[in-house]
C-alpha cells in the first residue's frame, strides 16, 4: 500500500520530477542559417558562406593521427589543450569519416564559414561578421537582409550524448539570408585600391581613399581605402574639404549675378588680410584675372573676397543645397554628418568660401560634384542593386540644385582647371576630363598648419556625358603637398585603367 501511495506521489503529484523529466529529455538545439551572399554588380561574389566542419580532438591518442591530419590536409598544433581545434576548414563531406568510429577521438561541428575572395581590396568597405552579426561595413549595414533567421529543433538526447530526432516535434527550419547585389564593380575597386595603395605608400600619407561613382545614377562603383582595417575613411572620417569647395562659392556668385564670365578680379601675390588674418595664395601671381582663371589656379584671395561679398547665409545655403552637413543616407555603416554652421565673422566667411572651417565626409563631396556632372541633380548615393528578389534600380533625386545653364558653365570651368589650371596632371589624351584640386590645411592646436594637409582631386569624364566621377583623398602626404601634384596623378591612373577595362568590356 505504501509503495502504491509513493508511486502515485512521484508519478502524479510531485511536479519536481516532472520538470526534471521535461528538461532532461528534451534538448532545444539551434540551427544556424546560411548567410546571404554579397555580389558585385557583375555577380562576382564579394562575401559568401559555405558549410564547413570544425574538427576537434578530444582524446589524447587518436588512431592513425598523422594519417588523418594528412588526409584532412591540416597541420598539427601539439601545444594546445584538449579538446583542441584541429581545423575549422574541413569540407562537409568528411563528416562521416571524422565521427566514425567514435573511438577515433575526433568530433566535428558544422558551421558556416564566411569567405571574402577580395578581402584585401575591399576589407574596409565590406566589413566582417562575428558569430552571426555583421560588425562593420556592408556586412553591418545589410545585416538584416543577409542574416536570415535561426531555426530551432527539439531533439532527444540520450545519456551518452547521442541525439535522436523526434518525429513531429516542434521544428523551425533556419531561413537562409537574402543575397545582395551591390553597385560595386570589383574590377574598378581593384584598380582604385591598387593605385591608392601605391600613392599612400609613395607619398607617405597617413591614409587615403578613392570613391568611384556614376554621377548620373548615384551608383557607387568603388570605394577603396588604405591602409587596410575595418575603417571606411570615405564616409566615417570628417575633414575640411579645401579648394574643391570653391566651385560652389563660384556657382552661388553666378546665381546671384555677382559676377559674370568675363569679370576680372585683382589678385595680389601676398593674398589679402581679413580681420587681421592673412588669406594666402599659393600661385604667386598678381594683377587682373578672370574668375574662371582664379578657379583654375585656385586663387584663395579671389574666393575669400567673393564669399565676403555674398555673405555667410548665402554660402551656408549653397553648401546645404549640394548636400553638405547632412548624411547622404548611403546604405553603409557609420557615416558622419560633417560639421556645417552658419558663419558671421568675415574671416570665418572667407575661410568657408575656400573650403576651410567646416567638415564633410568624402561621399558628400562626390554627390555635390555629381550635381555638376549630371545637369544639376543631387541624388542619393546607391550601393545596392538588388536585395533578394527586389530591385533597387531607380535613382532617387533629393532635389534639383542647379539649373542646366549653371551646371554647364561649372562643367566648362572645371574642364579648364584640368586643361590648363592646377589639375593639369589629371589631363588625359583622348578624353575630356573636368575636375578640381583641393589642398586643405589641417586645423591643429588652434591654428591652420602649413605642413599637415589633406590633398584631394575630384573629377569626372567624359565631360560631354559624365559616366565616371572619381574622388581621390590623401591624408598628410609627405612629399607632394598639393592636390594637383599628389592626388591628380592618382586620378589619372585610375581613370586610364577604368577606360582600358571598359574598352575591353564593350
Amino acid at each position: 500500500m505504501i509503495v502504491i501511495i509513493k508511486l502515485f506521489h512521484i508519478q502524479i503529484l510531485d511536479s519536481k520530477y516532472k520538470n526534471l523529466a521535461k528538461n532532461q529529455f528534451k534538448l532545444k538545439i539551434t540551427r544556424f542559417p546560411q548567410r546571404g551572399t554579397i555580389y558585385d554588380r557583375n555577380l562576382r561574389p564579394i562575401a559568401y558562406s559555405i558549410p564547413r566542419l570544425m574538427v576537434y580532438q578530444y582524446l589524447d591518442s587518436v588512431v592513425d593521427y598523422y594519417g588523418i591530419l594528412k588526409y584532412l590536409k591540416i597541420k598539427d598544433n601539439t601545444n594546445s589543450k584538449l579538446p583542441k581545434l584541429l581545423s575549422d576548414d574541413v569540407p562537409i563531406e568528411y563528416r562521416k569519416f571524422i565521427i566514425s568510429p567514435k573511438e577515433r577521438g575526433l568530433f566535428a561541428i558544422k558551421y558556416y564559414k564566411r569567405l571574402y575572395p577580395f578581402f584585401e581590396i575591399s576589407q574596409n568597405l565590406v566589413g566582417f561578421v562575428s558569430d552571426m552579426d555583421g560588425m562593420e561595413g556592408l556586412e553591418r549595414s545589410l545585416d538584416m537582409y543577409l542574416k536570415g533567421s535561426v531555426g530551432y529543433e527539439e531533439v532527444f538526447q540520450s545519456a551518452d550524448g547521442k541525439r535522436f530526432y523526434i518525429p513531429y516535434s516542434n521544428k523551425n527550419e533556419p531561413k537562409r539570408g537574402l543575397d545582395v547585389i551591390t553597385t560595386i564593380d570589383m574590377k574598378i575597386q581593384n584598380i582604385a585600391y591598387n593605385h591608392l595603395k601605391n600613392a599612400v605608400i609613395s607619398e607617405g600619407a597617413n591614409w587615403g581613399f578613392v570613391i568611384v561613382a556614376d554621377p548620373q545614377s548615384g551608383e557607387i562603383l568603388a570605394m577603396a581605402n588604405y591602409p587596410n582595417s575595418y575603417k571606411n575613411y570615405s564616409i566615417q572620417y570628417m575633414y575640411e574639404p579645401g579648394s574643391t569647395f570653391k566651385i560652389f562659392t563660384f556657382a552661388k556668385a553666378l546665381e546671384l549675378n555677382l559676377i559674370s564670365d568675363s569679370d576680372s578680379v585683382f589678385v595680389n601675390r601676398d593674398g589679402i588680410l581679413v580681420d587681421g588674418y592673412r588669406i594666402k595664395n599659393v600661385e604667386k601671381t598678381s594683377g587682373y584675372i578672370t574668375y574662371g582663371e582664379a578657379l583654375s589656379y585656385s586663387i584663395n584671395s579671389a574666393f575669400a573676397k567673393l564669399g565676403i561679398t555674398m555673405g555667410g547665409n548665402e554660402l551656408y545655403e549653397i553648401a546645404r543645397r549640394v548636400g553638405f552637413g547632412i548624411r547622404t543616407d548611403v546604405l553603409l555603416n557609420g557615416e558622419t554628418n560633417g560639421i556645417l554652421k552658419r558663419r558671421y565673422k568675415n574671416i570665418d566667411i572667407a575661410n568657408f568660401a575656400i573650403g576651410q572651417g567646416f567638415s564633410i565626409n568624402g561621399l558628400q563631396m562626390v554627390m555635390a560634384y555629381s550635381c555638376i556632372a549630371n545637369g544639376g541633380y543631387l541624388v542619393v548615393p546607391r550601393i545596392i542593386l538588388k536585395i533578394g528578389d527586389t530591385l533597387y534600380s531607380n535613382r532617387i533625386v533629393v532635389r534639383k540644385c542647379f539649373s542646366s545653364d549653371i551646371s554647364n558653365k561649372l562643367k566648362l570651368i572645371l574642364l579648364d582647371v584640368v586643361e590648363r589650371g592646377s589639375g593639369k596632371l589629371a589631363k588625359m589624351d583622348n578624353i575630356k576630363v573636368a575636375g578640381k584640386t583641393g589642398t586643405s590645411q589641417k586645423f591643429l592646436d588652434g591654428s591652420y598648419s602649413d605642413d599637415k594637409v589633406i590633398t584631394s582631386f575630384i573629377g569626372f569624364f567624359p565631360v560631354e556625358y559624365p559616366k565616371y566621377l572619381i574622388y581621390v583623398v590623401l591624408d598628410e602626404p609627405k612629399f607632394n603637398k598639393f592636390g594637383g601634384t599628389s592626388a591628380a596623378p592618382v586620378f589619372k591612373r585610375i581613370a586610364r585603367d577604368i577606360l582600358k577595362y571598359q574598352t575591353l568590356k564593350f
Binding site: V3, I4, I10, Y17, K18, Q24, F25, A159
Partner: protein, 352 residues
C-alpha cells in the same frame, strides 16, 4: 473433483508476456550502444522465458514426496555451489562489478543464490513439523545461516537479507517461538548493519552520491504520469537509468505504461501472492507441509516484488533486487517459475 487454480497459470503467462515486451523496450538502446541488434536482450530473455515455462511444468509435475526426500541433498548441493562460486576462478565464476555471484554454465550463467533460495524454501517447508522444536529450529537456522553468510560475502547483502526475511516469516507461520524469531532477527539485523559498514559498495548506496539511479528512476516515473508515454517511447532507458531491464524495470513500466498499468501489474503479482496465501490457509489443517510451502512461495514473491518497487520509488537504497516474473535474468525467473509450478500443483489439493 478438485481442480487446479487455473488463474495462477493464466496470470503467470500474462506476466511472462508483459515481461518479454518490457525487457525488449528497456534493453533495446543498451543493445544498440553495445553494437548488437536491438532485440538481442529480448531474444536472450525470451529463450529463458521458454525454459522457465518448462520449469513451471516441472514444478507442476514433480512428485513432492520425492522432492521432500531429496530436499536435504538439494540444500547441501546449493550450499556447495555457493562455496564453489567463491572459490572457482574467473571463466567459470566471473567477477562482475566487484561481486562473485554467477556461475557460468555452458548454456547460461546462473546466480547461485537463487538456487539457494529455492533450496531453503523447500527445506524449511518439508521439515516444518519438526521445526517447532527450538533445538531443531536452531540447528536448521545455523545451517541456513552458513549459506546466508556465503551470499553476504559474495557480496550480495540484499539477497542475503531477502532469504533471511523469507526464512523468519515462514518460521513465524510454522509457529516457532516468536521471541526466538525476534531475537534472531535482531541479531541478524545488527550483523547486517555491521556488514553494510564493512562493505564500501554497500555503504556508498546509502550515501547521496549513489542517488543518481534513484533520481533517474523517479524522473522516468514522473515522465510517465497517469497513462504513460507509450510502449517504446520511454526516455529513461537511454542510459539515463542504469540496469533499466533488471533492477529498475518497474520504473520503465511506470514511464511507458503509466501509473494505472503499473499498479495493474503490481496487482497481478499480488493476485498470485493472495491466491497462494489463501491456498496456504485452506490447507493448513490437512496438509501442513504443503501449506507452509504455499506460504513460503507466496511470501517469496511478495517480498521480492515489494523490495523491487521500494527501490524504484526510492524507499530503499538501490540494491540489485529483480522483479519476479518481469525482470531480465534467467535464474531468478526459472526458480520463481519452478516454485509457482509447485504452488499450482498444490492448489489442486483444495478448493478456493
Amino acid at each position: 473433483m478438485l481442480k487446479n487454480d487455473i488463474y495462477i497459470l493464466f496470470v503467470y503467462l500474462i506476466l511472462l508476456a508483459i515481461s518479454t515486451i518490457v525487457v525488449y523496450t528497456s534493453s533495446s538502446y543498451l543493445a544498440y550502444v553495445s553494437n548488437k541488434p536491438d532485440f538481442y536482450y529480448m531474444i536472450s530473455h525470451f529463450s529463458k522465458v521458454l525454459i522457465a515455462i518448462g520449469f513451471f511444468a516441472l514444478g507442476y509435475f514433480t512428485n513432492l514426496e520425492i522432492l521432500k526426500k531429496y530436499s536435504f541433498y538439494i540444500f547441501f548441493v546449493s550450499l556447495l555451489l555457493l562455496l564453489l562460486v567463491l572459490i572457482l576462478p574467473s571463466p567459470i565464476a566471473p567477477e562482475i562489478r566487484g561481486a562473485k555471484r554467477w556461475l557460468n554454465l555452458f548454456v547460461m550463467s546462473i546466480q547461485v543464490s537463487d538456487i539457494y533460495r529455492l533450496a531453503v524454501i523447500l527445506l524449511i517447508s518439508f521439515i516444518s513439523k519438526s521445526l517447532i522444536e527450538y533445538k531443531n529450529f536452531l540447528t536448521i537456522f545455523l545451517l541456513v545461516f552458513i549459506g546466508i553468510f556465503l551470499i553476504a560475502i559474495e557480496p550480495n547483502l540484499s539477497t542475503a537479507g531477502m532469504i533471511v526475511l523469507i526464512f523468519l516469516i515462514t518460521s513465524f507461520y510454522i509457529g516457532v517461538n516468536i521471541t526466538l524469531i525476534g531475537l534472531i532477527g535482531l541479531v541478524l539485523f545488527l550483523l547486517g548493519i555491521l556488514a553494510i559498514y564493512s562493505f564500501p559498495h554497500a555503504m556508498a548506496r546509502f550515501s547521496s552520491t549513489e542517488a543518481y539511479q534513484v533520481l533517474q528512476s523517479k524522473v522516468g516515473l514522473a515522465h510517465g504520469g497517469l497513462f504513460g508515454v507509450g510502449i517504446g517511447d520511454g526516455k529513461a532507458k537511454f542510459l539515463y537509468l542504469p540496469d533499466a531491464h533488471t533492477d529498475f524495470i518497474f520504473s520503465i513500466i511506470g514511464e511507458e505504461m503509466g501509473f494505472i498499468f503499473a499498479v495493474f501489474i503490481l496487482l497481478l503479482i499480488m493476485f498470485l501472492v493472495i491466491r497462494g496465501l489463501i491456498i496456504s490457509y485452506k490447507l493448513s489443517d490437512k496438509f501442513f507441509e504443503a501449506s507452509v510451502l504455499a506460504f513460503a512461495i507466496s511470501i517469496n514473491i511478495a517480498i521480492y516484488t515489494l523490495g523491487h518497487i521500494s527501490v524504484v520509488v526510492g524507499i530503499f537504497p538501490p540494491t540489485g533486487i529483480s522483479m519476479p516474473f518481469i525482470s531480465f535474468g534467467g535464474s531468478s525467473l526459472i526458480v520463481n517459475s519452478f516454485l509457482l509450478g509447485i504452488l499450482y500443483q498444490i492448489s489442486r489439493l483444495t478448493r478456493i
